[in-house]
Each structure stands twice: as structure tokens, then as C-alpha cells.
Subunit: 220 residues, 2 copies
């Protein structure tokens, strides 16, 4: 069977970045179809009627939605290539636990740094710093979260690397001073072509966030 792989995509989305990295890691050729979220395509609405969000992976006409569901699908459907999830059930559970933690904490909390005000903004800043602390501790002295090689947890978290500068600037802390191991880990991941070609520039992300949320941020 021919493998026709289409990704309903958006350059700056960390969730789409996860899928791009997984596809690159597996060496899968695909067509990126960039969506305009202010005018969603009929393909997007048909392929993801429940959430109407990107990313959607369309594999031989069949849609798969939600970034980490897609990553697991890619890992299982192209299982002859090296695996993103480890094979041992306990280590798999460990990887899924941390990917779930990143999903639940990083974006919802981080987004409040620019999309909310007052108390919620302040409490989100504290929560996000706490989240980075927990991740810095979990990483410890390992090269990657999964240990010796880039894997499932790394993929889940590195997708937010493009937002680290925005987080530290709007939150008024220094990633390199507070979380030096995570910064080193990020640089290590970026040496991989699958990662570097899938992520957006940190300053570009910051400029876009500023542009969209300028009134809320009180920045001229």
C-alpha cells in the first residue's frame, strides 16, 4: 500500500511540531498542509469534527487527531523504524506519565502569561516555574528524559522549546540561571535535525505573541 501522509499543520504550534519531529525521526515523507485557523479548511472540519483543531495526520485518507495520540500512532504504524517509546511496560508508563504532565501543565499555564491578567497571571507564573522545577529535577543528570537517547518525553517537551524565551521574558525569570539542565538538554535536542528543522525561532514566537496580545500585556 502506498503511504500517503498529509499533516494539517501550523508552523508555530508546539502540538504540530511534535508531529513533525516524530515524522522526521521515522524518516516518513509527508505533505504539510498549513491551516489558516481564522478560516478553517473544509478538510480540517471534516477530518477533526470534534475538536476542529490542528494537528491532524491523514494517513491514506484516515485522520488521526491530538498530538500525542498521533505520535503514538506514528510509532506503532511505522514500528520497523527505531521506537520513540521504550519497549518495557514500566518505562512506557513512565514516559506516558511525563508526556501527560507536560500536556496538562506547560501550555495551559504558560499561555496565561500572555492571555490572562491579574491574579490568574501571577498564579500561573508560579505554577509554570514549579512545573519547570519538577522537570529539571526529573531530568537530573541524564542526557535525555528517557536516558541515553531522544525519546517520547523529550519529544513532548522540546516542542515547547520555541516558547521558552517568551515564558522567561514575560514571566521575568532566566531559564539559564534557574533551569540550567533544561537549557543544556534543549541545546542537545536541537543538535538533532529532526528537532531543529521542526521548531520555530524563539524570538519569532515572542514577536508573534507580542503582536497578538499587546493590549493585554500593556506593552506599547
Amino acid at each position: 500500500m502506498a503511504n500517503e501522509v498529509v499533516l494539517l499543520d501550523l508552523k508555530l504550534s508546539p502540538f504540530a511540531a511534535r508531529v513533525r519531529i516524530a515524522l522526521e525521526e521515522k524518516g516518513i515523507e509527508y505533505k504539510s498542509q498549513v491551516e489558516d485557523l481564522s478560516n478553517k479548511s473544509s478538510t480540517l472540519l471534516k477530518m477533526n469534527p470534534v475538536h476542529q483543531k490542528i494537528p491532524v495526520l491523514i494517513h491514506n485518507g484516515r485522520p488521526i487527531c491530538e498530538s500525542m495520540v498521533i505520535v503514538q500512532y506514528i510509532d506503532e504504524a511505522w514500528s520497523h523504524k527505531h521506537s520513540l517509546l521504550p519497549s518495557d511496560p514500566y518505562r512506557r508508563a513512565h514516559a506516558r506519565f511525563w508526556a501527560d504532565y507536560i500536556d496538562k501543565k506547560m501550555y495551559p499555564t504558560g499561555r496565561n502569561l500572555w492571555a490572562s491578567e491579574g491574579e490568574l497571571k501571577e498564579s500561573s507564573k508560579k505554577d509554570l516555574i514549579q512545573c519547570f522545577k519538577i522537570l529539571e529535577e526529573e531530568l537530573g543528570d541524564k542526557l535525555y528524559f528517557g536516558d541515553e537517547s531522544f525519546g517520547y518525553i523529550d519529544l513532548a517537551l522540546i516542542s515547547f522549546h520555541s516558547f521558552f524565551y517568551t515564558f522567561e521574558t514575560l514571566g521575568n525569570w532566566s531559564m539559564v540561571a534557574e533551569f540550567p539542565k533544561l537549557v543544556e538538554w534543549g541545546e542537545r535536542c536541537l543538535q538533532k535535525e529532526s528537532v531543529s528543522k521542526s521548531l520555530s525561532d524563539q524570538k519569532e514566537v515572542y514577536e508573534v505573541v507580542l503582536q497578538i496580545f499587546k493590549p493585554k500585556l500593556g506593552i506599547e
Copy 2:
């Protein structure tokens, strides 16, 4: 290796119920260790330091946290027994998508029927009804969400069956009138011993919710 399986448990928790059902489905003997959430045990704090929540499955001394991560672990660690997830990658992704949908929508939205007031309560009621509509449509005329037999999606959703009466009573709608297929599906699932012995009585859940949230609900 001996299999020592301990579940840090709570009777009324739908998340703990998922784990109980999975353990029963696999025929795994385990010890239920009921937690008092107002006075968390040192075991819970040690085994789940990140979230400090139940359920936690402790398998030969090693903890696994987060209900659907635990269910997948059980499915993989006891893989010689019948599988909860299908084997085909696309069907696995489909199952994970719907379990994720249930996780993101059902409890956070449902809880607002008794734990919030005003606009948030009203919008949550609408969201929860929409969630049930989408699930009723996804079930369609199938016996189970996975098709012919009880599986991963069924397990993710049936754990909330104990809350259906509370939802419809506080939200002022009739499950049987609005979502007859889901009601029939629930009764079908309850015929399985793994399910019936793991779930709490619907009226008991309602009484507990009333007791805790009486002032907020404006009920004397």
C-alpha cells in the same frame, strides 16, 4: 517474580474505578488500600509526589500514576490476557482519541454542575450535554465503543456511569430521554462483573455530592 499489586484507592473515584475494572478484566489479584484525601498517607505522597492523587498502582514496589496510564500499563504488563486496546495501530489511535476526549470533557465539565455557580455552571451544563451528544453519536448502533466487545473507550467512560444520575438531576435533563443509546450501553456494561463490582451506586454518589456541595447548590 511474585506479583504484588497494591492500589491506592477511593471507592467513589471514577479514576480509581477505571483501574479496578482493568484489574478485574485481567483477573489480577490486588490489595485495595483506601486513602483518606483529607489526610493523605505517607505512601501516597511518596508514590505520587507530583500530583499527590489517587489512583496509584504499585506493582512490586514501583508506582504508576494517572488512571489511563495505569490502564495501558496493566494492558501491556499482563499482555497474555485478553487485550483492552485493539492491536491495529489505527484502531488503537481511535481508542486513545476517545479516552482522551472523555478525560478532557466529562469530569472537568461535569464537576462544574455542583462545584461552580452562575455563568460557568450554565455553560458547563451546555458543554456536558454536547459531550454526551457527541458520545451518543460515536456509539451509534454499536454494542460497545470498540465494536463487539468491551474495551478501552468503554472502560474510560463507564467509570463515570456512577455520576450519570447526579449529572442529569443537577443539570435537569433525562439521560434516558436524551441519550437512550448511552443508557442501554451502560446497562450492557454493568452486566459484566468487572464493571458492576467496581462502580458505586448512582444514588449514593448523588447523596455524597449533595452533602459536600449543599451550600453551593442552594439545597436545604
